[in-house]
């Protein structure tokens, strides 16, 4: 049975279909990575338009609250096994937008991240390196963020709800806020 698993992991690691969902500015280095100069297809990674067919979710940088919501939908639509790559500083600890009111601070509070890549933004070489690293992890059966998500679903859900389903103002300011519907 374990040989069978090894074999599936071997093939999985060689045919990553990544969701071409460009969330932040890290998306700018993906076209060079995808096309002829760096050509990630050599490593079996190709862009895929729909979440249901994808294996890797690239979070290419910062996530605004609005796109975090959509990202979570997208992640939950994907079939296991699935992996999340966090690109650049913004996903690790907020990056240059650390004090922004609309950008989340740490991605790992809301989704399980399998690999963080340093850089702002990471160069194509760093991206390719991370794909290779992910392949090694998958072959060894170590990258199991999706299992972690299922196991700790309540924890992730609570964090997601905290930022996405607010019912009262975050800063309790006495002033009346006038807004029309």
């Amino acid at each position: 049975m374990s040989e069978w698993k090894d074999l599936t992991n071997f093939f999985r690691g060689r045919s990553f279909w990544m969701l071409h969902y460009c969330t932040g500015c890290g998306a700018m280095e993906l076209p060079p990575t995808m096309t002829s100069r760096w050509d990630m297809e050599r490593f079996g990674v190709i862009p895929m338009a729909t979440p249901r067919q994808a294996d890797i979710l690239l979070v290419t940088g910062y996530l605004s609250l609005k796109s975090l919501k959509r990202l979570i939908y997208t992640y939950e639509q994907m079939h296991a096994p699935k992996w999340v790559l966090g690109f650049g500083s913004c996903t690790i600890n907020g990056g240059v937008y650390w004090d922004s009111y609309n950008v989340i601070e740490r991605l790992d509070k809301y989704l399980p991240v399998d690999l963080y890549i340093a850089g702002c933004m990471p160069r194509p070489e760093a991206i390719l390196d991370s794909f290779k690293k992910l392949r090694e992890l998958v072959e060894k059966g170590e990258a199991k963020g999706y299992e972690k998500y299922v196991k700790n679903y309540e924890w992730y859900k609570a964090n997601q709800d905290r930022v996405l389903k607010r019912t009262k103002p975050v800063l309790q300011k006495p002033e009346e806020v006038t807004r029309s519907a």
Binding site: S89, P112, A118, G119, R123, E125, E142, A143, N152
Partner: protein, 612 residues
């Protein structure tokens, strides 16, 4: 451009089938673009930091737009110089945006960027999600060191200083040329103009290295910032918080702060002293601007002996606290060493009086021509007042202890300066004068004598570089024509009625094994020299004179003839007796004395509050 439809045109792309692809092989293969292998020679990758150069000033942390840098105290590094701190930048690569601004503002050039950029981290599945930040932190926050130093990228080279953000060149105030100023006692360094002051003030990085170097910890970054905002009044407000003699310090301070200034490591330090002088001389009435709140009089009486900087500062701050202060001065004018020791070309007397009068105008009583011990017994003071502060400074000059010292024409430095300041100095025109010593007093004597028309030689027992005087003073004295003799040890003064000649030996300098100043040694092989001379002024240091104190008190406070041991607040083992200024300070300059006065003011307040 021809945009005619042509179904065959796209097929021309087929020729690329047989061309060599320009795909980069697996990561980090040479791009074949740049001179050096790999990425751009100016690439902004992970940082490197040379810990032997880093001074821990924290400018990188303050400039970081992503707040990625924290300064952390490191116990495994040595401070790079005597003012340096052992804080080192720790960089969070979960924040860093690789903009390179930290490299631009690093005053030492120790923080640089390498061409390394690949780093990734995989959190193990067994780590619970709530503990993951801890693991990620361990991996993405590190203290840069020399690991990547062999692959430098974006660095600041010494020959490319202009391209970066720090301005390394100082704006000097206008100065009279040496050949003009040596005939006049007028102040030769002009105060900054508004533009000059602003230009100089905008060089400040605001790191506060100067604050720790200042013996009195003035709010230096704050007052410089106010000058940059073209607000000398706000600037003075900041100065007055810890220094009631702004113009004096602006003109004659020993400016430790400038030695510590981080801009000075690769360039010229900020002219902090001149900036202070600028803000003080641009305010007519200090008290209107400062708006210090004075407490209600609390009925307690304090006495201060000696109207020098320590007592004036003590008087000012205790007066603000509501005490009734009386200052006793033996001379006819207040100011002490500032009045009698410092020549007019450095500190015009009207500038000094502007500061002193401001302090006295608060309602501090000044009793001049009252020498304690002679005109008034000390015991009476102790009895009449709640506390007594003694800031009489060093008034007993050290003697040469060589034959011929008692001859007329041999003078002590301070006595000579007193005469000069009283304008009662002997006529020196065309006379030869030798100054013995290498401190600031020696320089004052030498330069004053030059102005009085003498030919001046300074004899010092070590090298010029070892002189305790300010390097600037030495430089300016040389410009004005003062001769220097290194390693000269005076042996004998010849003369019948008055001084005629001086004999000195050239000592050999034995280096100090601990790295201190070398020791001059005179033996029988040392060459002897004899020069003709009309006056000899010995400026080799002074000692405190506490003769007016009863002997039992002298013993009780532990006075050893040189210094009175006191605690942080000027307290001694005798209750109600406080000391400050050169009497008790390690550094003997005006700003330390002011600091001592301020601390003693606090000490008195604490003492009287506890006695209640």
């Amino acid at each position: 451009m021809d945009t005619k439809k042509n179904a065959l045109a796209p097929l021309s792309a087929l020729k690329y089938l047989f061309k060599k692809p320009h795909t980069v092989r697996y990561p980090k293969e040479d791009l074949d673009v740049f001179e050096k292998e790999g990425v751009s020679p100016r690439y902004r990758g992970f940082h490197t930091n040379d810990h032997s150069k880093c001074i821990g000033c924290g400018n990188c942390a303050s400039v970081c737009p992503a707040s990625a840098i924290t300064m952390v105290e490191a116990d495994d590094v040595k401070p790079a110089n005597k003012f340096a701190k052992t804080y080192r930048p720790v960089i969070d690569y979960g924040r860093c945006c690789f903009c390179g601004q930290c490299v631009d503002v690093c005053p030492t050039g120790s923080l640089q960027m390498s061409r390394e950029y690949i780093h990734s981290f995989h959190p193990d599945v067994s780590i619970p999600p709530e503990e993951e930040p801890e693991k990620v932190k361990e991996d993405f926050i590190w203290r840069p060191d020399q690991t990547y130093a062999n692959n430098p990228g974006y660095v600041r080279t010494p020959d490319d200083l202009l391209g970066k953000t720090i301005e390394f060149e100082r704006t000097d105030p206008r100065e009279e040329p040496a050949d003009k100023r040596k005939f006049s006692f007028a102040k030769f360094v002009h105060t900054y103009s508004k533009e000059e002051a602003k230009k100089e003030a905008t060089r400040c990085l605001g790191c506060g290295a100067c604050v720790e170097a200042c013996p009195n910890q003035l709010h230096i970054p704050e007052y410089i910032r106010s000058i940059a905002e073209e607000d000398p009044e706000d600037s003075l407000k900041w100065i007055y918080k810890r220094n009631p003699l702004p113009l004096v310090c602006g003109e004659v301070c020993t400016h430790q702060c400038e030695e510590a200034c981080v801009v000075g490591i690769q360039g010229e330090p900020l002219a902090i002293r001149w900036l202070k002088a600028y803000s003080a001389s641009n305010v007519e009435n200090y008290l209107e601007v400062v708006e210090e709140k004075m407490e209600k009089p609390n009925g307690k009486k304090l006495a201060a002996i000696g109207a020098g900087p320590a007592s004036l500062s003590f008087g000012y701050y205790t007066k603000l606290l509501g005490y009734d202060v009386t200052i006793y001065e033996a001379e006819d004018k207040p100011g002490g060493a500032m009045m009698w020791g410092i020549p007019k070309y450095r500190l015009p007397k009207e500038d000094l009086m502007k500061d002193i009068n401001t302090i006295l105008s608060l309602g501090i009583k000044l009793k001049t021509n009252t020498k304690i011990g002679k005109d008034m017994p000390f015991d009476k003071l102790l009895k009449d007042y709640d506390a007594v502060f003694i800031g009489t400074g060093n008034s007993k000059p050290m003697t040469l202890r060589i034959p011929g010292e008692e001859l007329p024409g041999v003078m002590q430095g301070l006595t000579f300066m007193h005469l000069v300041n009283e304008e009662k100095a002997p006529d020196l025109k065309g006379k030869r004068l030798i100054v013995i010593g290498g401190g600031n007093v020696a320089m004052d004597v030498a330069r004053s004598s030059i102005r009085l028309g003498a030919e001046v030689t300074v004899i010092y027992r070590r090298r010029i570089a070892d002189m305790p005087a300010d390097p600037e003073e030495i430089k300016e004295a040389r410009e004005e024509g003062v001769e220097f003799v290194e390693a000269g040890v005076p042996l004998k003064i010849y003369g019948e009625k008055s001084v005629e000649a001086l004999e000195y030996a050239i000592a050999s300098l034995v280096p100090d094994p601990n790295g201190g100043r070398p020791r001059p040694v005179v033996d029988e092989n040392s060459p002897h020299k004899k020069v003709k001379v009309d006056y000899v002024v010995a400026a080799i240091g002074q000692h405190p004179n506490l003769d007016f104190l009863p002997e039992d008190i002298q013993e009780k406070i532990g006075f050893d003839g040189r210094r009175v041991p006191v605690d942080d607040f000027g307290r001694t083992s005798v209750e109600g007796l406080f000391f400050g200024g050169d009497l008790s300070n390690k550094r003997q300059d005006i700003i330390s004395a002011i600091g001592a006065g301020l601390r003693a003011a606090k000490g008195v307040d604490m003492y009287l509050a506890s006695r209640k």
